[in-house]
């Protein structure tokens, strides 16, 4: 460990431990826990909803709180999977497979305790990983020129398309539509206003907050109010939280493997946390001496995926913080928040705003510790939150969204725009398309156009510039291979295999 890293960490500790930042971290982690428990309210929706309000506070505090919501939700999603067989977050679906059987055997407390412990473990390991690997990655990224950035953005977009699609061609269309929406507004090179249809509201481009609130929050409410979900009244008793010696012996290997799988898969753009929890489950089942225990309350089936899920949720931050490339929709929103706060995302964030980066890293560790304390003793409270019917919640969700969208530019135009995107999101759902590529397209569009134009300006219009630069060529090759690679690791393939193996 170098002297430099220690200096950075002590700066981070100073930033994260100021009373305001400590409170924002606690607020974020608590909100995240609530959101993680409630089905129908995910981290992306919550971040989209609260994002405009965070512009009133300093960038570092805002990012600390939004991050808390994100990893807090991943942390808590497993609670309802274990107690009620209902994933609070899509990423916790896998925890149902063995967590709920454990609860029915009267071992709910043990499952919750293991889940909390491995989450904390994965959180600690991955916070260290962020601290260790981000600076060298950013140093490499500083060498990237326009051709490298162009092909890297392309690679990120194709990855997220491949990972989140049920239909490759339709999801690709969604991403291109997002890129096109990104071209609306003033062209920075010439000052010409494009595709604004004479509206003042579009001169600065399509507001990403309107889009996110529309396609995530509004479309989500539309999907949920039709189906008033039926919630099981009874819940398993929590008798003992203490795992047996055998539980611990079985869990720690799974937690290590899960952390490694999640830590690596979380780096990739796309649905990292979900895929990595599936992958971890498949791995645990295949290396187990007695695979028949899986699905019947095997503790490894909780420990591995839960560690992977949380590891991925944290390493998901690395591409956003070091390269300025968001790995998913929640990260895209945080990137957007940075831009609005006047911080240009990219490798220079770490050197120009060290307090922001290192404060965030330390707050993540702090937040994970808070979650460990929050989750276990208060588990009864969180589970009781489920008794709140959705019909009481959604008017409040809609109101927060509307006021949030409005307050960004004090413009009702943005509210109407969000309505339009809500309808679009509703339509996309009906076509089986994930909305994430649309948001990533919108956020990455201007960056892609700028780098594409600069690359071709420097090469005098020669497209071969993208294969003459070795790193850029590498990105292109990976992009071309992605559809084949993920035929085997796609969500559907993993789901199929985790079923077949049992």
């Amino acid at each position: 460990m170098s002297m430099e890293l220690l200096q950075h960490l002590s700066l981070g500790i100073q930033v994260a431990l100021t009373p305001e930042n400590f409170l924002f971290c606690l607020l974020g982690a608590t909100l995240g826990t609530v959101v993680g428990v409630l089905p129908g309210l995910g981290p992306t929706t919550t971040i989209a909803m609260l994002l405009p309000l965070t512009f009133k506070i300093p960038a570092t505090s805002a990012l600390i709180m939004l991050s808390g919501i994100y990893y807090g939700a991943h942390h808590a999603g497993s609670t309802t999977s274990i107690m009620l067989n209902m994933p609070g977050e899509p990423t916790s679906i896998v925890i149902c497979l063995d967590g709920y059987p454990m609860a029915r055997q009267g071992r709910a407390g043990v499952a919750l305790c293991i889940a909390a412990l491995v989450s904390f473990f994965a959180g600690c390991v991955c916070t260290v990983a962020i601290a260790l690997f981000s600076p060298p990655l950013a140093r490499v990224a500083l060498l990237f020129g326009p051709p490298e950035y162009t092909t890297m953005i392309l690679m990120a977009l194709v990855t997220i398309v491949v990972l989140s699609s049920t239909s490759l061609v339709l999801t690709l269309g969604t991403a291109v539509l997002g890129l096109l929406l990104g071209t609306v507004g003033t062209d920075l090179n010439t000052g010409i206003i494009r595709f604004s249809f004479g509206s003042n509201g579009l001169v600065d481009g399509v507001s990403f907050v309107s889009l996110a609130v529309g396609v995530f929050a509004f479309a989500e409410v539309m999907a949920h109010i039709a189906a008033e979900t039926h919630r099981p009244a009874e819940r398993p008793k929590i008798s003992s939280l203490i795992p047996t010696r055998q539980d611990l012996a079985r869990s720690w290997g799974a937690a290590l493997r899960g952390t490694a799988i999640g830590g690596v898969l979380g780096l990739m753009p796309g649905t990292g946390p979900l895929i990595s929890s599936f992958a971890s489950y498949v791995v645990e089942k295949q290396i187990a001496k007695d695979p028949t225990r899986f699905g019947n309350g095997a503790v490894e089936g909780v420990a591995g995926p839960e560690a992977a899920n949380n590891a991925a949720a944290l390493t998901h931050f690395i591409p956003m913080l070091t390269l300025g490339i968001p790995a998913g929709s929640a990260m895209a929103l945080m990137l957007g928040a940075l831009i609005i706060q006047g911080i240009t995302p990219g490798p220079q964030v770490m050197t120009e705003h060290p307090d922001l980066f290192w404060g965030l890293v330390v707050s993540m560790w702090l937040g994970n510790t808070m979650l460990l304390v929050l989750n276990l003793p208060l588990v009864g409270v969180w589970v009781r939150l489920l008794a709140i019917p959705y019909r009481l919640l959604y008017p409040g969700i809609l109101m927060f969204c509307c006021i949030g969208v409005y307050s960004l530019n004090n413009s009702t135009f943005d509210v109407f725009l969000a309505t339009g995107f809500g309808v679009l999101g509703f339509g996309l759902k009906k076509l089986g398309c994930a909305p994430a590529p649309l948001l990533l397209g919108l956020i990455l569009g201007p960056l892609l156009e700028e780098n594409f134009r600069r690359a071709l300006l420097l090469s005098r219009g020669e497209l071969t510039v993208f294969i003459q630069h070795p790193i850029s060529l590498g990105f292109l090759i990976v992009t071309a291979l992605l559809p084949f690679v993920f035929l085997f690791t796609s969500r559907q393939a993993l789901a199929r295999r985790s079923h077949q193996a049992g």
Binding site: L53, K56, S167, V169, L170, L172, G173, V176, L177, L179, L180, T183, D187, N189, T190, I192, R194, F195, F218, V221, M222, A223, I225, A226, R391, L392, Y394, P395, G396, L398, M399, C401, C402, I403, Y406, S407, N410, T412, V415, F416, A418, T419, G422, V423, F426, G427, K430, L431, G432, C433, E449, F452, R453, L456, L457, S459, R460, G461, E462, L463
Partner: protein
């Protein structure tokens, strides 16, 4: 030939792509080495139209294109109407009427069965929003107002 997700999705992408290409072509295009404001959007729009055509072709070749299930459609209408009403009322009548409108319209289907519940939610949200957003966060919003300002 089945008309399911691929077909309709493809048709929409083709339509939007083509229209956007026509729009983009009305801006200066320039050359690859010195792109005008229309160049990049034109490339993307053509790409979107091509993706739409590929989807339609796929739909024509596959026997089982998953059908588009638009029903129930009312949630889309109700939520949109509630949000639009919020926007209109916020500009003309203030925050409290806007919140009331939002709650009543979005919960419209329960207006008969649970009127009291809706009233309570509306009261709590309107009070909470006034305290949090106007008193607390000092957003430039009027609690009540008459006519556009």
């Amino acid at each position: 030939m089945t008309t399911g997700r691929l077909f309709w999705g493809g048709l929409v992408f083709f339509g939007v792509g083509s229209a956007w290409a026509v729009l983009a072509a009305s801006y200066p295009i320039g050359t690859a080495s010195k792109m005008g404001p229309g160049y990049f959007p034109l490339v993307l729009a053509v790409l979107l139209a091509v993706i739409g055509l590929i989807a339609i072709t796929q739909a024509a070749l596959t026997p089982s294109d998953a059908p588009v299930q638009m029903r129930p459609f009312w949630p889309c209408v109700v939520v949109s109407a509630a949000v639009v009403a919020f926007g209109l009322l916020l500009d003309t009548a203030g925050l409290v009427p806007a919140v009331l409108g939002l709650v009543v319209i979005s919960g419209g289907q329960r207006l008969r069965s649970r009127p009291l519940e809706l009233l309570i939610i509306a009261t709590i949200l309107a009070t909470g929003a006034t305290l949090l957003f106007i008193r607390g966060l000092q957003l430039p919003l009027a609690v009540f107002q008459f006519g556009e300002q």
